[in-house]
């Protein structure tokens, strides 16, 4: 049987902790899904780089769960079988993940929660505040509406993420916290699987129901869905697109931002997040106490079971056309060439940089 759920909040280091950087050890990384570009493209490679810098001889074992809880559980067991010394877990479902956490700790393997706070008393946690993401999106949207001279009677449409993704609920909460009372929400949808085609149909129906001219802005929970939303608006003959939000700073999203089709996206600076996670993992595996690095300090965050988890929280960054250069490009997230493909070569943004 597993051990109790009441693991002491300051339990970091009391499991495992006998590995050494010189000899190297195995680090397991579990990411939640592949439908969103960020995990395979950024999170994993950045984490790997970070780990290699701290511990040359360490070996990274990686799995992706395709947005399925039970799959992630199988993968965790597989990593434990392979003998990892620390587990870095981006849970598909934060609450269900308590099973994984307990299983790991019963084998003296410490757990670092990555991006989403797995329950069950993990050792460390690093993330963006998902609720903050929603707030940032909402604030940007309000700002854009203000610029367009809209006030409380502005009408917006909200296209939220998957009803089966707990993150989506957090984004939605954050956005509502900011938007409620400030604007009128004419239509709101949850979108199965974050599917852009589905989002497009939702938007088309919202346009039919409300009228294209009556929509002053659209809250889109991520960039993928924003693609469908833009298409719906263009299809309805809207040339002057209302402000549309996004998230993830996908390349396609950035391209829409520079061409004026999408107002903003949220850039989650994944590199520092991944680097902090690597630092936490090495500390946990070698039995040291992680105290933050020069740039980010630690705070305590309470998880669903009431455990206080030592955490690092990184602020999500809103990116409008004015910020692209200072964020994703200067961070090396994308190069100018990647963004300014043929289709986008004659945008002001690309013209200016060339």
């Amino acid at each position: 049987a597993g051990c109790g759920a009441t693991t002491d909040g300051a339990s970091s280091g009391d499991g495992g902790g006998d590995a050494s950087v010189e000899e190297g050890f195995k680090v397991g990384l579990l990411l939640p899904e592949t439908q969103t570009a960020r995990y395979e493209e950024f999170d994993k490679p950045y984490f790997e780089e970070g780990l290699n810098e701290l511990c040359e001889n360490c070996e990274l074992l990686y799995q992706n769960a395709d947005q399925e809880t039970s799959k992630q559980q199988d993968q965790a067991e597989s990593l434990l079988t392979s003998g990892v010394d620390v587990l870095v877990l981006d849970a598909v479902d934060a609450e269900s993940a308590s099973g994984i956490v307990q299983n790991a700790q019963s084998q003296d393997v410490p757990v670092v929660a990555y991006d989403r706070l797995a329950e069950g008393g993990v050792d460390y946690y690093v993330s963006f505040d998902n609720r903050r993401v929603g707030e940032v999106q909402g604030q940007s949207l309000l700002q854009a509406l203000d610029q367009n001279g809209g006030g409380e009677d502005s009408q917006i449409v909200m296209i939220n993420g998957s009803p089966t993704d707990p993150n989506a609920a957090k984004f939605k909460q954050g956005a509502h916290d900011v938007l409620d009372g400030q604007v009128e929400i004419a239509k709101e949808y949850d979108t199965p699987e974050w599917n852009p085609d589905e989002a497009q149909v939702e938007m088309e129906q919202a346009i039919t129901a409300v009228g294209a001219d009556e929509i002053d802005g659209v809250y889109s929970a991520n960039d993928g869905m924003a693609a469908g939303i833009v298409a719906a608006l263009k299809g309805a003959g809207v040339d002057d697109l209302p402000p549309i939000t996004g998230q993830d700073a996908e390349i396609a999203g950035i391209q829409r931002v520079i061409s004026g089709e999408q107002y903003m996206t949220v850039y989650k600076a994944i590199r520092p997040e991944a680097e902090v996670a690597a630092e936490m993992a090495v500390a946990a595996a070698t039995g040291e106490e992680y105290e933050g690095n020069g740039e980010y300090g630690t705070t305590e965050v309470e998880d669903g079971n009431g455990n206080e988890i030592k955490s690092v929280l990184i602020d999500p960054i809103p990116v409008t056309v004015d910020d692209v250069e200072d964020t994703v490009i200067s961070d090396g997230f994308y190069t100018v060439e990647e963004i300014c493909t043929d289709r986008y070569a004659d945008t002001d943004f690309c013209q200016d940089l060339q």
């Binding site: 592949t34 439908q35 969103t36 570009a37 395979e40 493209e41 009803p163 239509k187 709101e188 949808y189 949850d190 199965p192 699987e193 974050w194 599917n195 852009p196 085609d197 589905e198 497009q200 149909v201 939702e202 088309e204 129906q205 919202a206 346009i207 039919t208 129901a209 960039d223 993928g224 693609a227 469908g228 833009v230 298409a231 263009k234 299809g235 309805a236 003959g237 996908e250 390349i251 396609a252 999203g253 391209q255 829409r256 493909t341 043929d342 289709r343």
Partner: protein, 423 residues
């Protein structure tokens, strides 16, 4: 106790009477009254054809219109026709496979993989968009040939082949779109034009007139030939009734669509494929072979039909249509992404075929199922979004309507089922 009944001479003159005058047959088709009587008998006998679906579709439309006044607006109906085109093409392919008595679980993944091929070629490789469209469709064709060959030649059940396809081609899709996740395509090239082109009113009227005209002429000519060959044929009255029954929805749709942006190219593509496949299935030797293999593969083989070739070609066509569905999806959203066609498309595509009246057991159905079934599901989705239903409710209502639509059909078919011969 021999009480012989005399052979009544009124019944028939010789033993070798032509059987189309069999006294047991209660149908004639000359007067309006007998037409109506025949209709009634068909309803009682359960031979309803597409009627239950059409009635269901109308009921759905009325319900939603009562609940939301814009449901039947030209704008919404125009959107609806474009919304259903992508999955509709996939459904047309599924119908071909269902007619064989098989199932294709890979349509979504094939559409997704082809969409990825399209975007990669058009954007990353940079070949002209029309060439990329051809290449994407060809990708579908090749995939279908692979599926068909594994099924027909190697003998792997189609369910398994296409289940493997469902996983495998999604793998390919992920691999191709790789780290980008999403590739935007131009919003004013040929790809985008597929779903964002609308024709001026006159063109719509022209098409409608042509369609109805061709139908009337061909029917009339065909029935005259039947009559002159001494076979039972439709009366002029019946031809007229049928022509009007076609003309009303055709002209009606054009009228409504012309009030918004005009006839959408996507609708023409979709309906065009449906009509083409319908003609192919009903009027050509190839179509006859497809039905024969679906109704009894061994009997077809014994009749000298190359069963393997029919099977391979059907899977090839089905995957090609899925690929085209994928192209339409890309066109609509100006982008190919990791989850293009990776969601409900598979289930909805198959559901549409079944709702439209194509049997899951092979050998019974028609291409129009794609149109009718697609419209039913599209209307439900469209209506529920207008009413802003939450996902759980939407799922449940979709399920319910799906059930009701098919229950209606099943109940009407029951009497027929009772007659079918047993194993």
């Amino acid at each position: 106790m021999a009480q012989q009944t005399p052979v009544s001479s009124s019944e028939e003159s010789t033993g070798a009477t032509a059987f189309d005058r069999d006294p047991r047959l209660m149908v004639t088709r000359t007067s309006p009254a007998s037409l109506l009587a025949a209709l009634k008998r068909r309803i009682r006998g359960g031979e309803l054809g597409a009627m239950p679906v059409i009635v269901g579709l109308i009921a759905i439309c009325i319900t939603f219109q009562l609940l939301h006044e814009r449901f039947l607006s030209p704008q919404n109906l125009s959107n609806l026709t474009v919304q259903v085109a992508g999955v509709g093409l996939m459904t047309t392919g599924v119908i071909m496979v269902l007619l064989l008595g098989e199932i294709d679980l890979s349509i979504g993944s094939v559409a997704g993989a082809s969409a990825a091929v399209l975007a990669v070629l058009a954007v990353r490789v940079g070949i002209p968009e029309w060439a990329a469209i051809v290449a994407a469709a060809a990708t579908g064709l090749v995939i279908g040939i692979v599926h068909g060959t594994l099924f027909a030649k190697v003998g792997v059940p189609a369910f398994v082949v296409t289940l493997a396809g469902l996983l495998g081609w999604q793998g390919v899709q992920l691999q191709l779109l790789g780290n980008d996740g999403t590739i935007n395509i131009s919003d004013n090239g040929p790809i985008a034009a597929l779903t964002h082109t609308f024709f001026v009113p006159a063109f719509g009227w022209g098409i409608a007139a042509a369609v109805v005209g061709v139908f009337v002429v061909l029917t009339f000519y065909g029935e005259r030939r039947r009559a002159s060959a001494g076979l039972g044929s439709m009366s002029t009255l019946e031809i007229a009734v049928r022509s009007i029954a076609l003309a009303i929805p055709v002209f009606g749709s054009v009228y409504i669509l012309n009030q918004y942006k005009g006839l959408p190219l996507a609708l023409i593509i979709f309906v065009g494929f449906v009509v083409a496949f319908d003609l192919m299935l009903r009027k050509t030797r190839y179509g006859r072979m497809v039905f024969a293999v679906g109704g009894g593969a061994e009997a077809a083989r014994r009749a000298g039909i190359n069963v393997d070739r029919v099977r391979i070609s059907v899977f090839a066509l089905a995957s090609m249509l899925s690929a085209m569905g994928g192209i339409i999806l890309v066109s609509r959203s100006f982008s190919a992404s990791l989850d293009t066609a990776a969601g409900e498309e598979l289930m909805m595509g198959i559901a549409a075929a079944v709702i439209g009246g194509t049997s899951l057991f092979g050998g019974r159905g028609n291409a129009y199922s794609a149109l009718l079934g697609g419209l039913v599901l599209g209307a439900i989705t469209s209506g529920l979004y207008l009413l802003q239903m939450g996902t759980p409710v939407r799922f449940m209502i979709t399920a319910l309507v799906l059930l009701i639509a098919v229950t209606l059909d099943a109940m009407s078919r029951r009497s027929r089922r009772a007659h079918a011969r047993g194993g």
